[in-house]
């Protein structure tokens, strides 16, 4: 049962990212990415992280992708999307990507066997995560809040239209 669910979600996730690559339309790309992120949320759930799974679906598949789609609607290109790069660069990038995949696989090859299996005791308890956030990780938590305020103010200042004097 678990392995079936994993394969389904993995195929949906990789298919979503492939759809992002192959689609010419930015809005379609964004929707494919929503699919990929939602199935990634399911994968987090399989890994005993129910809180992170919920956060992934609400913040990533919800909020961030809505932001992307808003910007795509605001930009609204008249001449359409530019065609992809030249053929030989596509081939070259595919070959290099396969090499990178092999290289990353070799790099982690030794540790893969030692990772064990899912199941057993639960570790992603929201209560435990909340306790960790407000005790061991209190400083990173506060710094993140400062970062978010800075990003918010920065985004508003950047996009605001200058008033005519």
């Amino acid at each position: 049962m678990g392995i079936f669910l994993f394969s389904l979600l993995a195929i949906l996730c990789v298919g979503g990212v492939l759809g992002l690559i192959l689609s010419r339309n930015q809005a379609h790309s964004a929707l494919f990415l929503v699919l990929a992120f939602a199935s990634l949320g399911g994968l987090f759930g399989l890994l005993d992280a129910p809180f992170i799974a919920a956060v992934q679906i609400i913040i990533y598949a919800g909020a961030i992708m809505v932001l992307f789609i808003f910007v795509i609607m605001m930009i609204n290109l008249e001449q359409g999307i530019a065609p992809e790069r030249k053929r030989w660069t596509l081939g070259l990038s595919a070959v290099l990507a396969v090499f990178l995949l092999i290289e990353l696989g070799l790099a982690v090859h030794g540790t893969l066997g030692a990772l064990g299996r899912t199941g057993g005791e639960s570790i992603g308890d929201p209560k435990e995560l909340g306790r960790l956030l407000f005790t061991d990780y209190l400083y990173p938590f506060e710094i993140t809040s400062v970062l978010i305020i800075a990003a918010l103010v920065g985004a508003i200042v950047l996009v605001k239209k200058k008033e005519k004097e």
Binding site: C13, V17, L40, Q56, I75, G124, I148
Partner: protein
């Protein structure tokens, strides 16, 4: 009972796909989405390793990565909008002010 290494392998595949998307695509918004794919691949690796180590610390890190990604998306999309207003284009090759 799924081996955790499957999840780790999936995260590697997702990361490589994100890199491919970043280099193949020409418009800034889709390149930005490719960055999000790479961030999520890193998240999956973190959660898989948290499961393998039996400690929730990896999940806390993922929580921080998601908040930083949200901040990054807000600022990045604001910059893309600004570039579009000035250049009327979001193609990556049109951004060559520093090229001289």
């Amino acid at each position: 009972m799924i081996p955790v290494s499957y999840f780790f392998g999936l995260s590697i595949v997702l990361f490589v796909l994100g890199i491919i998307a970043f280099f193949i695509k020409r418009d800034l918004i889709t390149m930005f989405m490719a960055i999000e794919v790479m961030l999520n691949a890193a998240n999956l690796a973190f959660i898989a390793l948290a499961k393998a180590a039996g400690s929730p610390a990896g999940q806390v890190i993922v929580f921080f990565i998601i908040t930083v990604a949200a901040a990054e998306a807000a600022v990045g999309l604001a910059i893309i909008l600004l570039v579009f207003r000035q250049k009327k284009s979001i193609k990556a090759e049109d951004m060559r002010l520093l090229k001289g």
